[in-house]
Structures are given as structure tokens and as C-alpha cells.
Amino acid sequence: MKARWIRGLAAGLIALAAVGLTACGDDDAGGGGSEVTGEITVFAAASLTESFTRIGADFEAANPGTKVTFNFAGSSALATQIGQGAPADVFASAAPANMATVADAGDVDGEAVTFVKNQLVIAVPKGNPKGITGLSDLVGPDVKVALCAEQVPCGAAAKKALQAASVELTPVTFEQDVKSVLSKVTLGEVDAALVYRTDAIAAASDVDGVEFAESAGAINEYPIAVLRNAPNKATARAFVDHVLSDPAKLVLTTAGFQAA
């Protein structure tokens, strides 16, 4: 927490210094509208918090004079905010459905691109006390399972995976987001939960992730797009390009995402 705060402050200071430098020696940039400088606001799915914070810092370092501000929240909440006119430059969604909502409202500039995929794993308490190896082990009265609610992307993916495996299970709860599901495992309230592999890796000190074959049938795609009303389109495009670049992919795959 503290480290991130300091990093953020440092990034801000660097950005400020960079703005100062650019102002002094403004000779190598192109025409006004296409200049990669200034501030952008990126609305990104909560599951991207760690990776995008890192990628944002890298982007700022590579493009002096830029500053990336993030708004991390559930994809649907972000889509609603964009629909209500929030001043965002880039939207990175955890599900195509939310991106579609934004696109249908005509708020996407160009096409949304899938930049990464996330797949489900079974999160179990450290050491896997119930010896769970696959979805079929989740059925039964002595195994408490938490799932995401169907209305949120991780829940939709879980439903698809369970259908693909023809497993019918009654969870004890349908949580409102994947972090809540995960916390039920870390607190020991449930014996297993379906979460994204990235979440399981982020919580590796408390949980183990058990891969299962049927997860391939429920891969979640993450689309990203520049928004039509972006106040700083040039920098927004540069940021999207950066997210699609190899260094950013490395950051994302290290976090457990799969390349698109």
C-alpha cells in the first residue's frame, strides 16, 4: 500500500518535471492534436489493478510529460459511469459484454481490441485441505463453494465452465465480485471458489489455484478501447498501443493473464 503510494507520488513528480522539460524544449513533437503528452484517465476493471498500475508507470517513464490516472472498479460500474458522461480516455473491461454496452451507446472510438485473456481456476485454502482436483470434487454437502453472481463476468464464466463440465453444484453464496469470492476462501468461510487465475496468483500466500480442464471453455476476454469523448485522444491511443506491446504483455502474463 505504502510502496504504491510512494511510487504514485514519484511518478507524479517525474511527470511534473517532464512537463517542465517539455515546456522548455518543445521541438521534437508533432502537431497539436497528435502530441503524446499530458494527462489521461483510464477506466480499468478491478482485476487489472496491479498490472495496470505497473504498466501505467512504465508508460509514463517511456513518454515523459504524460500522466496516467486510473479508476479501478467493477466493469459494469465503469460502463455505467462512462454512459453517464464520466471524462474517461480509455476503457479496459474484464468482459466483452460491458464493452459492448459502451460501444452500443456509441461511446467507443474505433474498435475495441482484446488485449488479454483470463481463465478460471479453483481457489482452495493453502495446502488444499479437501484435496480438490477438479470441478466434480466441488459437488456435495461437505464442500462449501462460493461463486460470483451470474450478473458479473466471473460469475458468467463460472456458469459456462460448470455447464461445460456438466457439473451441477449449489454454492453457498453468489458474491458481487471476484475479490469478495476470494476473501471467502482466505477467511476460511468456504472450501473452494471459482476465481480468475490472476486473482489466485495475487493471493498466492493464502490460497492455492487448482487448474481444471473445462476452464478452457470459459475463458474471459479483456477488451480495451479509446473512448469517443476522450479529452486526450493521442495519448489515449499511445497508452492502448503500449498495453498491446510486448513489455506490457510480460507484465500481464506474469500476473497470470494469458496473451490474447
Binding site: 453472481a149 453464496t173 453468489f174 476473501s183 477467511l187
Partner: protein, 280 residues
Amino acid sequence: MSADPSAAVSAPVRAPRRRRRAGRVPVALLVPAVLGLLLLVLPLAGLLVRAPWTTLPRRLAEPGVLTALGLSVQTATMATVVCLVLGVPLAWLLARVDFPGKRVVRALVTVPLVLPPVVGGVALLLVFGRKGILGAWLDSAFGITLPFTTAGVVLAEAFVAMPFLVIAVEGALRAADSRYEEAAATLGAGRWTTFTRVTLPLVAPGIAAGAVLCWARALGEFGATITFAGNFPGRTQTMPLAVYLALETDLEAAIVLSLVLLVVSVVILAGLRDRWISSP
């Protein structure tokens, strides 16, 4: 403005002056009062304006709506009962008994007011959860688990709503004349009899007001409930949870659910107010 109608009857001469005074509400009070009211009412108006009136009947008929509503009313009522049983004695203790650390206890009572409900839910898990301090013992000794059960919803709602009751009842007890309790004692009533026969009836309006606040707070409870009791239709999915999840996909459905919750609570509260809260 006149709280005592008999005063107006016995002093008819004063009535006209009073009416004139009512006409001269100071602007310095009126403006913020109206702004305050707007702040409270405008969001409600927003819901009404955006409500999908044409599809309303169909949406209301969906089975999940009634289930969630029933569960909400049921758990909020049970939570209020829990708060009354535990909170009224606690308020009495704070108002009538001097003990060391009373200030601290009073501050602790208000903790759920300042604590974000989600944090309250986590805190409840740490105590009553399967691995919790008490929860583990409840599970091993009695086979009782609270998370993900309706009882868990009641517990979470009682946790966040109790301060409203305790504060209201304590205030009523402090305002009540404790000499009535002395009078009861001189007539041979012990402390318990005095409490049930004299103190409780005296502060009944305060208890009713506290219970209503408590019930309303429990009815709207979201954070602690979803964190502690989870979200399972028919068992732990109350209206606010249903509203939140509906927001993920369908704004209109969320509005409809919110309106149902609002109407039910307003009807119940207004009904209760006429019957019990208005003092004689």
C-alpha cells in the same frame, strides 16, 4: 408548531398571534431547510422519473422480487427484535448505572455507525465465521454456522442497526424523570419490576422511535450482509443485494427493485407512526 393542542384551546386569544408568527419563518432557516429537503428528495425523484413504468407490472411479477422482499422484511424485523432484546437493556445500563469505562462503552456502541459496513461484515466473519473466535466453537460444539444463513443476515443487520436503537432509547431514558423509578421503589417494586412496569412504559415512545430507525437501517443494509452472509436467493439475498446485482446488468431492474423497497418501507413506517409513535 404547537405541540400541545390544548394550549391553543385554552388560550384562544393567542391563536392569531401564533399564526402571524408562523408566516414569518426566517429566511436563514427556510433556505437551508428547503435545500436539505431537496437533497433528500431529489434522488428519489430521479428514481421515479427513470422508472420503467410500462414494464413495471411484468418486472414486479418476477419470482425473485417477492422472495427478496419477503426475506428483507422478515430479517429486518427479526434484527429489530434482536436489537430490542439486547439494546434496550444496554441503553438502560448506559443511562442509569455508573460504572468505570462508561465513556468508552458508549463510544464503542457507536462503532458500527462509523465503520464501513463491509468492514463490519469482515469483522463479523473474524468472530462468527467458520474459523472465527466464536464461530469455530459454535461449529464444533453445536454444529452451528452463521455465515451464508438467514440467521447470519439477521446478525449482520442487527450489528449495523443496534446503535440507532441504543442511542434513541438511551436519550429517552435520560430525558425521562428517574424519580418515577424512586416512587415505584417506595411502593415495593424491585429494580426489575420497576424497569418493566414503570421505566419501559415511560420511554415507550422513545423505544418505538428507536425500533423504527433500527428497522429502516436493517432493511437497507447491504455491505455487512453481503460480506458476512453472502448472497443466495431465498436464503440471504435481501432486496439491497438484489438491487446491487441488478445494477450490474440492468439499470431499470435495479430501479424497480429500489422502488419496491422504498414503497414497502414508507408504507410500513407511516402506518406504524400513526399507531404508535405519535405521543398522546
